[in-house]
Symmetry: C2
């Protein structure tokens, strides 16, 4: 029992409300494919924002929106000093055709922790906050984790607002349109700790039968857009050895990078987007544009993977007689979370006799941005089959509730510390 | 001198008018990329059709349009029997971002031959006709060579008219809209011979320093649309060996089919179109859709290439844990032209001391459809660098004129025969 709580008023997670809010939020942006699509600052994401803000206000939280659209709900503490706040959070934007949990779970669990305090009538010794960061997924506006990146000063506000989607609409315009261009300066509330609860989005906890991951850090991410220039020509008349086939060259790069990843213990390489021009069945592609997503928990290994990609592009350019150009879309070095907080997550699981493991996050998270400015850690719960960014993304209800309870445990531990 | 011509009235190609009409037609549908786009039965193609019909009427030809939109200009002969006509032709629709010659050259050269008779005041012993067939390229409506296919009875008229573009507009609707849904029954004029003059669209004549190709036939074409089904998942959290990556599987098929083509003397394999779903940088593709264009002059070898594709798909499906499905978009067996007509082309070149060669067409042509119903041959002129289906497609002016002169030579030879 936290020393600041009366014996009869321990904050407790209300699992029913938490699960109900997750379900309700998951219904915004249903796209008819079994999933939902709430791209950052879209009309559908606005509906999600309105829901979350409504729930924050129901709890009587002090709701603030900053100039990059990040939303915060603040529960004042005995000490009113925001610099000493403890923040939880994540994001509520989604990829296209997403599952129900990614991001939303962390925001709504943070809200569940604040609700636990309110319902128990316990005033925390210092302020508690929950944040929902803008454009974590990076689908509509690049780079990903844009809202938290700007929040911690990693990108100037103007640059973040000027990021444009495929139709040329800037994030700034989109936020104005949905009414979430707030007045707070990003970074107005730099907490002393940040905790983010999230589904693993990978298969390890599920495969090993564990229920909690104490996340030690986030692997490095390097995103590239590659453009290969070949020569359009007739598919029926151009001998194989006279072709400069941009599409074939792209396919060679994709298969080569898969071989590189296969030979590595830790490096991942993915091509998720591709287009050929002119894009006709009987015309050899003159142009191929595709992305390469490289990841590794180790910065040096990530750099080696980038070099492997560059070498592969040069080799294919020479062998196929094509031109290659690559643009670095995003680049995040591996991040290490705070040892003290990681330990507290592990301890909290042990106190409940919950099997846990330390692990590195494969996905990027807002926590890796917050780690630049405060003590940070993450808690993972299992994703069944490791599936995420997919409508079939699933985490068992008892694990969703357990995760929120553990988040509350760590918050209580930190407030007592 | 043809025996039916008076000594002072030999028909002669007017090269200036021919080149001028090619240039004028190439200006319809300019797409701002250096090329032109006149997809079948589009508004831009209508402008091309109007030009050609106008030029036919200027020559006093009997202009007929059939129910699939094919246009014919007929010059009556001494004998009025259409069954005994000699037809020339090609098409005026283009691929996206096309060069100036493909198709148009054959139609306008046929017109130049008829003009030569008119200007010389020579009435041919039997009718001469020039045809412009609908949707040869097959970009907007599948299959390609649709107009000539329907014309020779290879596809029912209703089925051809029901072929729909990507927006669901049928060819029948499109022809109504542009005013080219004619009244003639397709096949109303089955000639005794069909001659098609065309740029080679391949590099052989240019590479070998020859000016005329006597085309012996057309290689077989087999078009496939392949759909690979994988599992969407997070690019950062899914271990390489747990992926079911539809995009990687597609890349493997593309590179495998290129290896197959490399190992073959004659088979060509091309992937010109591809798309991944959901199409996001950080999501493993759940779906990849791409085309495969297979060609071989030999029917048995083409069947082997189809089997190689099927085997490759099955192998990749098993190794990557993905599903595969393939749809046969078009299938044309290799075609052999008429030995007598091929010989007449070769003889005509020899009489002018023009270096020529016999060759197989790499591309599909309306002539291969007409070969089902009458004696048929084609004449090729060089494509510089073998480039076609590209704004930089080029044939020297003297070769364009020479080709038309040779076409006239063969016509005169046949009329005398």
């Amino acid at each position: 029992m936290a020393s600041f709580c009366k014996n009869d008023s321990k904050p407790v997670i209300n699992g029913d409300i938490l699960l109900g809010q997750i379900k309700r939020l998951s219904e915004e942006g249903l796209d008819g494919s079994g999933g939902r699509t709430r791209l950052a600052a879209s009309k559908d994401e606005k509906k999600g924002r309105d829901l979350v803000v409504g729930w924050m206000k129901e709890l009587g939280l002090d709701v603030r929106v900053d100039k990059i659209g990040n939303i915060f709900g603040i529960l004042p503490g005995v000490s009113g000093n925001l610099d000493n706040a403890l923040m939880m959070g994540s994001h509520i934007d989604t990829v296209i055709n997403a599952g129900p949990y990614d991001g939303c779970y962390g925001v709504l669990s943070g809200l569940a922790v604040l609700r636990a305090f309110k319902e128990a009538g316990v005033i925390p010794p210092r302020p508690l906050a929950v944040g929902a960061f803008t454009d974590e997924e990076g689908v509509r506006f690049q780079p990903d984790m844009l809202g938290s990146l700007v929040y911690v000063g990693g990108m100037p506000l103007d640059e973040g607002l000027a990021s444009a989607d495929g139709d040329g609409v800037t994030l700034g315009q989109a936020l104005e349109e949905i009414g979430y261009a707030g007045s707070e300066e990003p970074g107005f509330l730099i907490p002393s700790e940040y905790l983010e609860l999230h589904i693993e989005q990978g298969p390890r906890l599920d495969a090993e039968g564990l229920r909690i991951g104490a996340v030690e850090g986030v692997q490095g991410i390097s995103w590239w857009r590659v453009t290969i220039g070949g020569k359009a020509n007739h598919a029926g008349t151009t001998p194989t050895d006279m072709r400069h086939d941009a599409g074939l060259a792209a396919a060679r790069v994709i298969t080569s990078m898969r071989e590189y990843a296969k030979d590595s213990d830790t490096t991942l390489a993915t091509t998720g987007e591709i287009a050929f021009e002119p894009g006709l069945v009987n015309v050899i592609p003159s142009k191929a544009v595709f992305t390469v997503d490289l990841r590794d928990p180790d910065g040096e290994k990530l750099a080696l993977a980038e070099k492997a990609l560059a070498d592969c592009l040069n080799r294919v350019a020479e062998e196929e007689g094509v031109t290659v150009a690559s643009e670095h879309l995003a680049n995040f070095a591996p991040v290490k979370f705070h040892p003290e907080l990681i330990q507290k997550v592990e301890d909290a699981a042990a106190r409940r006799n919950i099997p846990s493991m330390r692990m590195v996050s494969g996905a990027g998270h807002d926590a890796q941005m917050m780690a630049r400015v405060c003590k940070t850690a993450m808690i993972f719960v299992p994703s069944i089959g490791g599936i995420s960014h997919n409508p079939t993304e699933h985490t068992e209800k008892e694990d969703l509730i357990l995760g929120a309870e553990l988040l509350l445990d760590v918050v209580l531990d930190l407030l007592n510390g």
